[in-house]
Point group: C2
Chain length 280, copies 2
Amino acid sequence: MKKIKDIRKEIGKIKKEGKIIGFVPTMGYLHKGHISLIRKAKKQSDYVVVSIFVNPTQFGPEEDFERYPRDIKRDIEILKNEKVDLLFNPEVDEMYKEDFKTWVYVDEFSEIFEGKFRPGHFKGVCTVVLKLFNIIQPDKAYFGWKDAQQLIIIKKMVNDLNIPVKIIPCPTIREEDGLASSSRNVYLDERERSKALCLYRALKRIEQLVKKEKIYNREILLKEGRTIIEKEENVELQYLEMVKINDLKKVEKVEKGTIILGAIKIGKIRLIDNLLIKKF
Amino acid sequence: MKKIKDIRKEIGKIKKEGKIIGFVPTMGYLHKGHISLIRKAKKQSDYVVVSIFVNPTQFGPEEDFERYPRDIKRDIEILKNEKVDLLFNPEVDEMYKEDFKTWVYVDEFSEIFEGKFRPGHFKGVCTVVLKLFNIIQPDKAYFGWKDAQQLIIIKKMVNDLNIPVKIIPCPTIREEDGLASSSRNVYLDERERSKALCLYRALKRIEQLVKKEKIYNREILLKEGRTIIEKEENVELQYLEMVKINDLKKVEKVEKGTIILGAIKIGKIRLIDNLLIKKF
């Protein structure tokens, strides 16, 4: 369905039946990461809604909005196979009227890491997610840990604004070699693809140092990680940081709820990944 | 009720019964303007919720948050008399946790008129209204024309963010002499109170010029209005403007949906008023 008023009619019916609605917001070009979110939603809800909307307001003017990969036919096949109950795939002008002026943002959390390299990105994300929540009115919404900062920001928005939706975080899904599944992986040629793995290798090395060598010190861990990435030619390390999962503040030593966040750039392609350090 | 979780439990029950929920957000110190909103809500809904919350985030640092008039006992009596079903009167720390960081704002609309004299005011208003909507989940919410810019901004926010609440605008209620009912009128002593009327006189004079003299020209109308206010000693005219009701843009001639917005200051007391020009 492409129209908000059609969705409202449908959702109204479902709500009256007392069904639990699970919602998976996506930008389409679905991969196995999305499918894992959908399957979790199917398990935990009576009725699953997926949205496919490449949201222009979360792309910067120099970014890849126009060339972001799209394949709605293939996506619809996948959704049918997964027995998704409802697809919402609006056009841009259905979501943003010409005189649109209302924005939602999470201070501080939105300015760092991804926000520093993509100014305005999280303002666009929060605004569209809130709009989608208001249209779909789900009981639960599913987000992947792959976009860790996004997940943390959305949880913060939901808490701060008392939005009546439960956010369900889902693990990052990886390709066989460890690369985090992402629609943007399609941009990578074979050589770039093998270089892209250095970020994951750095994260795994840090995890190993923590778990096997019992090294918890921020500087030592990050230095080791950075070295791995910097060895790779034509890869730009944008950030590699060790923070607390709940407030994104830097930590000096690995503690409960520490996450390592990283971003690299290969040519024009930005890739992000992260690793939550559990049991150490 | 003071706790969000108690409200959610209660509202959950009411929703299950399929009842229409009407909501009147207030800052308390209820006057006949509020009562008219409540009565309209009672007529149009099955279950009426009133909130009383003096929202700190919509007051500037130099403004009257601390001394804003409060009388919860008297308010509760009024709500009982009006047979309001539920009162939500949270403490500040129930609405804003220490690490609160999420804000909603409507660009442009929030920067002009009241927004110019009260920077950040409408960001605070939008944020708290959205929070209240998410907590109460009303079908309809009632706002007075007295705060015309606030009403227009909230309607814009609701449209832009697809919030599933119908905004019901209600006419300004006035004292016998024409002064718009406002909790802040209590600040006025007898002399100030009589001076305060000059804004309403200016608005009525403009209305008369339009209706009786068929004068539609912006400059002529506003000049006449300003002259009336400027004659009054110790009254500062902050703005007097003629705008379109839907986008707050200045109009050169009175047309359908024209509103005159004004604000004056008497000593430390700011007062606003407005007049929608109907049938001319």
